[in-house]
Amino acid sequence: MLADRDGNEVDMEHLLTLQEVYKYFPIAAGGFLREKVKWLKAVDGVSFSIDRGTSFALAGESGSGKTTVARLILLLEQITGGSLQFEARDVQRFTRQDTIRYRTRVQAVFQDASSSLNPRMRIRDIVGEPLEIQRAAEHNALSKKEIREKTEEMLHLVGLSRTVMNNYPHELSGGQKQRVAIARAMILNPSLIILDEPVSALDVSIRAQILNLLADIQERLGLTYFIIAHDLAMLGHVSAQIAVMYLGRIVETGKTEEVYARPTHPYTRALFSAMPLPDPKRVKVKASLKGEIGSALNLPQGCRFHPRCVDAEPRCRETDPTFQEMSPTHRVACCKVM
């Protein structure tokens, strides 16, 4: 155990832990004046822990529930069941003060910087806004000048020159805008940053710049990243741990090296074979996935992946697989390995 900035004892290893987290959205399914509710099971029993100072990746197709997990961590949605622990403390038992503090320590960078930056604000106001809000709420006592200095420092950290301070977002390129979004996320000195598809909207030559920048910042400040993406090549490059999600549940998780060396769940294997590689010599195997991702409103019986699985057996239709250890740091939920 170690003490944090405020002198509290904290769990050294895990910064954030999700235990059997559920998020169901009610969908009205009945007719007029009839109370009949169906549940959309966006997140259906997800558990993982993120180690301090490392990067944790969550992979999956759209509709797998990965963004909902991010929204739960950001407290933008309330969890239906299970627990979310930050520094070994249950987020649901947070006082108002705790929540405010949590929100400064957990920040996010989204896919499309053009839509996450206010077009009518100047860059210096965008980056300095979190501090301005804190000041208005009397959570800090910084002067205008100090906020300005801090803003400049952040822009410098992300490799932007001071000259962009007075620009508006539309005057910057895609890569510069993403740097601004990173600067804004960094200014409150957070410990966890949620990166939702941080580079997929950028050009190839700019992607490498942003990924290197994120790696530099992480190393210098000891940050923890939670990265959501569908690009397995990129995730393999940046993450230490990975979890693959399918229809609200994690199907395979572990150390990135192990999962990549020995992808075991048919879905993980399918994602790998679908990944386009810049190698014309690679021999394409037969398509290993049928159809499209199902609906979280109408989950299949048994293993939720079986309708698309090429290796499905009759028992897959009946048994909902639980996690099996391939090694202490690699777990898979598939009937075939049970």
Binding site: E61, S62, I206, A233
Partner: protein, 328 residues
Amino acid sequence: MTQGTLLSVEDLKTYCFTRAGVVKAVDGVSFSVKEGEALGIVGESGCGKSMTCASIVRLVPQPAARIVAGRILFEGEDLLKKSESEMRQLRGKKITMILQDPLMSLNPVYTIGNQVAESFKLHGEGLSRSAVRQGVIKVLTQVNIPSAEQRLKHYPFQFSGGMRQRTVAAMALAGQPRLLIADEPTTSLDVTIQDQFLRLLKEMQEQTKMGLVLVTHDLGIVAETCNRIVIMYAGRIVEAGEIHKVFERPAHPYTEALLQALPTVGSRSKRLFQIKGEPPNLLNLPSGCSFWVRCHKMLEKCKKEVPPMVPLDGGGEAACWRIGMETR
């Protein structure tokens, strides 16, 4: 023109005349596509790849953009000399296009059956209603739309992203085109659906021996789908060649840098190779080779003179002053 050449673009120049000045979106681009061949055009946003495609079908956004020079030979005839009504006969029939966002190509208030039928009605004059219906069901089945017959009455919003894009492909294939131009066709799709779509495209192409021009920013997609590749930078082609050659021995520093900048599983905990700076502003291009500002192998000469395309040992061609220097 050599045997089997379907499309040959020669020194194409498409400029945009804006209030801020002339943007040379496509500035002297030449390439060709043979029958049954798949050509990948790769480049970053703003490099002119989409404008090149729009020029081939003569659908550049007028009046701002104009094709100012060059020849586009399709089956031996210059498309730039054709009248608008002759072009209309070609588009959607012999040459078809698939765009990035299927929702933009599909009309939300018409049924799928109705919209796919349109491409039959336009080009197969005099087909009976039941013949059109059978044709629509046939192409939809070809692109793996499950229970196509029941799906005819559905609207685009009832289709998933992958199904919409396959519907657009069905419309494109209905006219049995000789040339299919696909501009970032899978950017809005998930990887698994992208894989399914590219396999389908490849299959269709091999069956019908049509030519394919695939525009993308993803080198992986080109490596898996195409026979040849063209790499564009700031309105010009910087390297072209057979894919095995280009991926194994890239000649232009830009191609080399693009390949090295890709994150892979093996690159873990290493720094990625980084191309400095950003894609240039076409209104304000550097003198000489437009890539020199970002190039890691720049010479003094590059700042002054534009390098010509030169043939490479082992096939292909590239435009860089370095070529030939190291070997000689």
